[in-house]
C-alpha cells in the first residue's frame, strides 16, 4: 500500500529523528547531508523505487547508487524503516563488526549497490550500470544516483556526465543534493559550480530543478525524468543543509561535525516539536 504525501512527510520526520539518535550513539559522522536528504530518501524507498527489502538482490529491482557515501546514515535509517534490517541495528553504526560502516560497503550490507566515500565516482558507476542494462535491452529498470554538489569538483564526475550523454542513457536519473555546502565552506567559495543548470544542459542532459524538501516535487520530478527518452536526466534538488534542526540549518560547520549529547538533545527537541511549533515531544 502506497503512503500518502502526508504519511511520507511524517516518515521523513521520523527518519530525521532516528538519524540524530544514531549519530549521537555513534559519536561521529556527518550530520547536515543526511538530514537534508531525508525527504528524497523517504520518497525513494517508500514511493519511487521498485525494490524488495526481503530480497535485496531481486533481479527486477531499480538501482539506487549513493555517490556521496558520507551521507549514508540517511540510507541506513531509511532502509531500516523499510524493513531491510531491524532498527536496533542502527545503533551499531561505525562500531567494530557492524554491517553499517562509516561509509557504505556493498559487501557488508545487502541492499547497498556500491561502496562509496571517495567522491565523484558514483555517477560513472551508475552510468556503467545503466549502460549494462542498455546492452541487455532491459528497458524497465531504472538507475538512480544521488550525489552531492561538492563532489562536482572532481574530474571523474564530469567524465561520467559526458559518458552518459554520449550513450543516451535515458535509464539513468541523477539527483543532486544541492545544499551549497562542503567541508571547507559554501560551495561557491570553495569552488564555484554555477551556472549549474546551464552546465548540465550544455552537456546534453535533461535538467529539472526542484525543492528537495517537497515530497510531491521529488516524486513528480522522478516521474518526469523517467518519461524522458534519448537523454539522461538530472534533478537539481535544492536543499537546506541540516534541514529540520534550526541551529544546524545552513551552517556548513555541521557538514561533518559530530555533535555532543547536548546538541543532540536540542536537535531531537526541534525535530519532535517541528521547530517549536507544537508542544508534544512524544513524536
Amino acid at each position: 500500500m502506497q503512503l500518502t504525501i502526508k504519511q511520507l512527510e511524517e516518515k521523513a520526520a521520523q527518519i530525521r529523528i532516528d538519524i540524530i539518535k544514531m549519530l549521537e550513539h555513534a559519536g561521529s559522522g556527518h550530520t547536515a547531508g543526511p538530514l537534508d536528504l531525508a525527504d528524497i530518501f523517504t520518497a525513494m524507498y517508500f514511493h519511487i523505487l521498485k525494490h524488495d527489502p526481503k530480497n535485496p538482490d531481486w533481479q527486477e529491482r531499480d538501482i539506487l547508487v549513493l555517490s556521496n557515501g558520507h551521507t549514508v546514515p540517511v540510507r541506513y535509517v531509511t532502509m531500516a524503516h523499510a524493513a531491510y534490517f531491524p532498527k536496533e541495528e542502527l545503533m551499531t553504526l561505525r562500531k567494530l563488526g557492524s554491517r553499517l560502516q562509516g561509509h557504505p560497503e556493498r559487501k557488508r550490507l545487502p541492499g547497498l549497490e556500491s561502496t562509496s566515500g571517495p567522491l565523484g565516482s558514483g555517477l560513472s558507476q551508475a552510468a556503467g550500470m545503466a549502460k549494462a542494462l542498455a546492452i541487455d535491452g532491459v528497458g524497465h529498470r531504472w538507475v538512480y544516483c544521488v550525489t552531492s554538489d561538492g563532489e562536482m569538483d572532481e574530474g571523474n564526475y564530469w567524465e561520467g556526465v559526458m559518458f552518459a550523454a554520449k550513450y543516451n542513457l535515458h535509464n539513468l536519473i541523477v539527483i543532486i543534493d544541492r545544499n551549497n555546502i562542503q567541508i571547507d565552506g559554501p560551495t561557491e567559495h570553495v569552488m564555484p559550480l554555477e551556472d549549474l543548470r546551464a552546465k548540465w544542459e550544455a552537456f546534453g542532459w535533461h535538467v529539472q530543478e526542484i525543492d528537495g524538501h517537497n515530497m510531491e516535487s521529488i516524486i513528480d520530478a522522478c516521474s518526469m525524468a523517467r518519461a524522458v527518452v534519448e537523454r539522461p536526466s538530472v534533478i537539481i534538488a535544492h536543499t537546506i543543509p541540516g534541514k529540520g534542526v534550526p541551529f544546524m540549518e545552513y551552517d556548513y560547520h555541521f557538514h561533518g561535525m559530530m555533535h555532543n549529547a547536548d546538541e543532540a538533545k536540542k536537535a531531537l527537541k526541534a525535530l519532535r516539536t517541528l521547530k517549536g511549533k507544537i508542544e508534544s515531544e512524544a513524536y
Binding site: K107, S116, P118, S121, Q125, A127, G128, G155, N156, E159
Partner: protein
C-alpha cells in the same frame, strides 16, 4: 614437462608482442561468454580491445581519454553482471585511476579485468612518461586483486582466458614490443602457480613477465660455464605460489629476482617478503632501482638498466664467485 621451445637464445626464435596473445585470448573468451565486454580509453587498436569492437560492437564501450571513468564505468557494468576488460596503457590505468580501482573495484570486489599495456622500459622511444614501472607495486598491495604478468604471447593468451573466468578483480601486465615466444600451447599455466622452467642446483633465478625469457637464456649461458641455475617462472605475482618458491630457495640457498619494473614494492619485494618471513635466504633483486625510464630502443634500455640475460649471468657469477671458484 614444461614444453618450452628448444631454440631459446637463438636468433631464429619467433617474435611477437604479448598484447597480441592477449587479443587472441580476449576474443576467445568473448566468444565463450557473452557477459564479457571491452572498455577502452582511446587506445582501442593498440591495446587490442579492437577484437571486441570488431566482433561484438554492442559489447564495446569507448570512454574517451578518461581512465578514472574507465575504471568506474567498468565497476558499474560488473555490478550488473558483466565481466569488463578495461584497457589502457599501464601508466594511465592503473597509473591514473588507482583510487577508483581500490574503492570501486577491489573493495567492491567486482570482477573487472584491468589490462595494463605498454608496461616496462621496453616500451622504448615514447620515454619515461609512458614506461610504467610502478604498476606491480600499485596493484599487488590491493586486497582481492589478482596480479599476473605473462612471459610471452602464448602465455598472455592463456592468462587472459584464466582471468576471464576467475570471478575476481584482476590485473594483467602487457608489454609493447615484439619479444621471443618460448612457451607453447602445452606449457602449463594456472593462476597462482609458479613453474620450474629450468631445474638447477646452484642458484634460483626467479623471474616474472618479459624477464623470464632472459632468465632462461642466462641459464643456458651459465650451463656452459658449469653453473646449474634453476629458473622459476612466476607469472602470478599475487597470490604467490609460496611452496614452489620456497622449495627452490631451500634447494639452492641463493636467489636472484628479476622484473621489468621498480624493484621497490614490486615482484622482487614480494619474493623477498616471503623469504624474509619463512626462509631467510640471500637475495639480489634485479629490476629498475629508483629510476625513471627514458627514450631509446627496447634492447638499449634493457642494457642501460641492467636487466638482460647478460646482466643476469654477471650477477650470478658475482654471487657464486666465492663458492664456485
Amino acid at each position: 614437462m614444461m614444453h618450452l621451445v628448444t631454440n631459446i637464445g637463438d636468433a631464429d626464435i619467433k617474435m611477437e608482442s604479448n598484447r597480441k596473445g592477449f587479443g587472441r585470448g580476449l576474443l576467445a573468451a568473448a566468444k565463450q561468454n557473452d557477459k564479457i565486454v571491452g572498455l577502452c580509453a582511446d587506445l582501442t587498436e593498440s591495446t587490442q580491445i579492437s577484437v571486441i569492437a570488431e566482433e561484438f560492437p554492442d559489447r564495446y564501450v569507448e570512454v574517451g581519454v578518461a581512465e578514472q571513468n574507465l575504471a568506474t564505468v567498468g565497476s558499474g557494468m560488473a555490478a550488473m553482471g558483466k565481466i569488463p576488460f578495461i584497457a589502457s596503457y599501464a601508466a594511465f590505468c592503473p597509473g591514473r585511476d588507482w583510487e577508483q580501482i581500490r574503492t570501486t573495484i577491489c573493495l567492491n570486489d567486482q570482477p573487472v579485468k584491468i589490462v595494463g599495456a605498454h608496461a616496462g622500459v621496453s616500451v622504448g622511444p615514447d620515454g619515461a612518461t609512458h614506461q610504467m614501472l610502478e604498476d606491480i607495486a600499485l596493484m599487488r598491495v590491493l586486497p582481492n586483486m589478482v596480479v599476473v604478468a605473462p612471459a610471452d604471447s602464448v602465455e598472455a593468451e592463456k592468462a587472459t582466458l584464466a582471468i576471464a573466468k576467475n570471478g575476481k578483480p584482476s590485473y594483467i601486465r602487457l608489454s609493447r614490443s615484439d619479444i621471443p615466444v618460448f612457451t607453447t600451447a602445452d606449457t602449463p599455466f594456472e593462476l597462482g602457480k609458479a613453474y620450474v622452467f629450468n631445474e638447477g642446483s646452484d642458484i634460483s633465478i626467479m623471474a616474472t613477465g618479459t624477464m623470464t625469457y632472459h632468465a632462461m637464456a642466462a641459464a643456458k649461458m651459465l650451463k656452459k660455464d658449469g653453473i646449474s641455475a634453476e629458473v622459476i617462472h612466476v607469472p602470478t605475482i599475487k597470490p604467490l605460489d609460496e611452496s614452489t618458491i620456497l622449495t627452490s630457495a631451500k634447494k639452492t640457498g641463493k636467489v636472484i629476482t628479476i622484473e621489468e619494473a621498480q624493484i621497490a614494492g614490486g615482484f622482487g619485494s614480494a619474493i623477498t617478503e616471503l623469504l624474509a618471513e619463512k626462509l631467510p635466504t640471500q637475495v639480489f633483486r634485479m629490476g629498475i632501482r629508483d629510476h625513471f625510464g627514458e627514450s631509446g630502443k627496447p634492447e638499449e634500455l634493457l642494457n642501460k638498466f641492467g636487466i638482460s640475460s647478460v646482466h643476469i649471468v654477471m650477477q650470478v657469477h658475482g654471487m657464486l664467485g666465492k663458492t664456485k671458484a
